[in-house]
């Protein structure tokens, strides 16, 4: 009898806690969602004059897709093409370096390394993820720039390559840790089945474990990409910030984020220049949203089907 009583009270309590927890999670999730929504509304509200205010529209739109970014000029020019090129250049360099290193390191740690090594390396790399980007920027400005210049013979010491290499340092830890988690989450039974069929260690790693964990690795890459494209301080310090439309990797580059970071401080509120900076912010926001949506809804699902046969 006492046991029965105990059970019923615990289950009633459990239900209450369950309800409470659900309510808390709902509230927190709603707050988070509405914050993101409000930030977007605010950003767009400040940018909308570019399209809806006649005077601003006349000043901005004719030059918006030109190759001249000269907002502080007697005849201001708001060409965002060099900024787009700069963003793409630096981000691509960073990803080309970070994805192979991050993913391969994750495969090694998860499938080949001894346990003690994994337990040592993971926290260390996670620590690197929390490294302040301003410190990486300093490192790029003082050390990396000179080293890469002597290596490539670049005319300008500060260029897209320097910024890209420095930014890959922020993307590698993210890609590494999330990929590693995905690889380690692959059920041991699958690998054991592979060994059972006579596959070697590396065959199992590359043909079995890696494809099974692919959706997670893909998500890691997308997150790394998001971190890179949003990175401001490093590019501000290391890219040279010259708004030139050049695809050369050793020319200076100016990115969208660095432009906002550098110019927002002194811009006059409500000016066309101010509106355009917010338009850039809206564009970055949409960019991240689209990228994440593709990752979430399309590719991930398709890859799941392909690899899991379901």
């Amino acid at each position: 009898m006492p046991i029965m009583q105990l059970q019923s009270t615990t289950s009633a309590r459990a239900e209450r806690i369950d309800f409470l927890m659900r309510a808390i999670i709902l509230v927190v999730a709603t707050i988070a969602l509405s914050m993101i929504f409000l930030i977007f509304i605010f950003t767009f509200k400040e940018a909308k004059d570019v399209f809806f205010d006649a005077e601003t529209r006349h000043e901005v739109l004719p030059t918006l897709f030109s190759t001249n970014w000269q907002p502080i000029s007697d005849s201001p020019k708001y060409g965002i093409i060099p900024l787009l090129i700069g963003t793409l250049k630096t981000t691509l360099i960073a990803m080309v370096i970070a994805v192979p290193i991050g993913v391969l390191a994750a495969i090694y740690t998860s499938c080949f390394s001894p346990i003690w090594f994994k337990e040592l390396i993971k926290p260390v790399v996670e620590l690197l993820a929390g490294f302040p980007s301003v410190v990486i920027g300093f490192f790029a400005l003082f050390v990396l720039a000179g080293f890469l210049q002597s290596l490539t013979g670049a005319e300008s010491r500060l260029n897209a390559l320097v910024a890209g290499v420095a930014m890959s340092l922020t993307a590698i830890p993210i890609i590494f840790t999330i990929s590693e988690d995905a690889l380690s989450a692959v059920p041991k039974s699958i690998q054991e089945a592979s060994y059972g069929l006579g596959a070697t260690k590396w065959e199992t790693a590359f043909y079995i474990t890696f494809p099974t964990a692919y959706p997670g690795i893909f998500a890691a890459t997308i997150l790394g990409f998001g971190r890179t494209i949003g990175e401001t301080l490093i590019v501000l310090m290391a890219s040279g910030n010259a708004a030139i439309s050049s695809w050369s990797l050793i020319d200076s580059a100016r990115t969208l984020t660095a432009t906002i970071g550098a110019e927002m401080a002194e811009v006059v509120f409500g000016d066309p220049h101010y509106n355009v900076l917010f338009l850039i912010g809206t564009a970055l926001f949409l960019f991240a949203l689209i990228l994440n949506s593709i990752a979430e809804f399309y590719i991930k699902e398709r890859l799941m089907k392909k690899f899991r046969g379901s």
Partner: protein, 288 residues
């Protein structure tokens, strides 16, 4: 319903009433923030009953604060624009009060191994607008110039554009860096670099004497040449007030223009607004 913010500001107000006579808030130029803070520190040591708060954020931020009445004094490293003058007139029904408080020489840095002995204003303009791109044209090696400048949010950028480029746009390959220190550092590491900024001394760079015209004599930036205006690229650093200064405010400004405060200007690497010999009491500028 009273918001906590209101209560907080009420408490702060009461606190400031009881303990101090008045708090003078100074905001604006990042170029001037260290100077302003040094002034405030010395002033508060001298007059312990006064409080002066100094914040940076940029000249434009300071002007916005002045317009929004959140600052008593705006420090600005550039003269106010016509649009800003207009905003002050609309809001306060009067012209802004402009008080030059220090001078700043804009100097041209090159790498220490660079043999170019002098540059004229028109040569500098050609370098920054892309008409001179190679050091050969200035009699040195056949190498492309690496041109550094400031971000377009900087007061130094606007001053340079107006005074040296005569309003022309910078050529697009100018590499813009945040802050004078970053430019000095970049130039010191780049043999073929050129940059501009505040008067700064550092290893690895050389300050090039500047001449007003191609034929006139080049001048080095120092206290005598900058205060007399002989050095061709110097600018005033300003205090701006939007309304008639209170007694406490007038006392502070008068002190800032005194010999004692102007010596601090020199110690901070800027130049006094007037040489101490020709110094006159500038209180007249406060009364109209």
């Amino acid at each position: 319903m009273k918001s906590p913010l209101f209560l907080l500001s009420l408490l702060f107000f009461l606190y400031s009433c009881t303990s101090r006579e008045q708090v003078i808030t100074v905001r604006g130029s990042d170029t001037m923030v260290a100077l302003g803070q040094k002034w405030a520190e010395v002033y508060m040591n001298k007059f312990p009953e006064e409080t002066v708060q100094v914040n940076g954020g940029g000249s434009g931020t300071g002007i916005a604060a002045l317009i929004n009445r959140t600052a008593d004094i705006c420090q600005s490293s550039r003269p106010m624009k016509a649009s800003e003058h207009k905003k002050i007139r609309e809001k306060f029904g009067r012209d802004v009060i402009e008080i030059p408080v220090a001078k700043d020489g804009i100097v041209i840095y090159v790498h220490e191994s660079n043999p170019v002995a002098k540059l004229s204003i028109s040569q500098i303009r050609k370098i920054y607008t892309g008409k001179i791109q190679n050091w050969k044209e200035l009699g040195w090696e056949d190498k492309r110039m690496i041109v550094y400048g400031r971000e377009n949010s900087s007061g130094t950028y606007e001053f340079f554009k107006k005074a040296v480029l005569e309003g022309e746009d910078f050529v697009d390959y100018v590499q813009t860096l945040p802050g004078t220190a970053a430019i000095v550092n970049a130039v010191s590491k780049d043999k073929y670099a050129i940059g501009y900024g505040g008067n700064a001394y550092s290893q690895g760079i050389r300050l090039v004497p500047v001449s007003r015209t191609d034929s006139s004599e080049a001048v080095e930036a120092n206290e005598a040449t900058v205060t007399s205006g002989e050095y061709p690229i110097s600018r005033d650093l300003y205090f701006y007030l939007a309304k008639e200064p209170s007694n406490a405010l007038a006392r502070f400004i008068e002190w800032v223009l005194s010999d004692e405060a102007q010596e601090i200007v020199t110690a901070q690497g800027y130049f006094p607004i007037k040489t101490s010999k020709t110094h006159t009491k500038p209180t007249t500028s406060l009364t109209h």
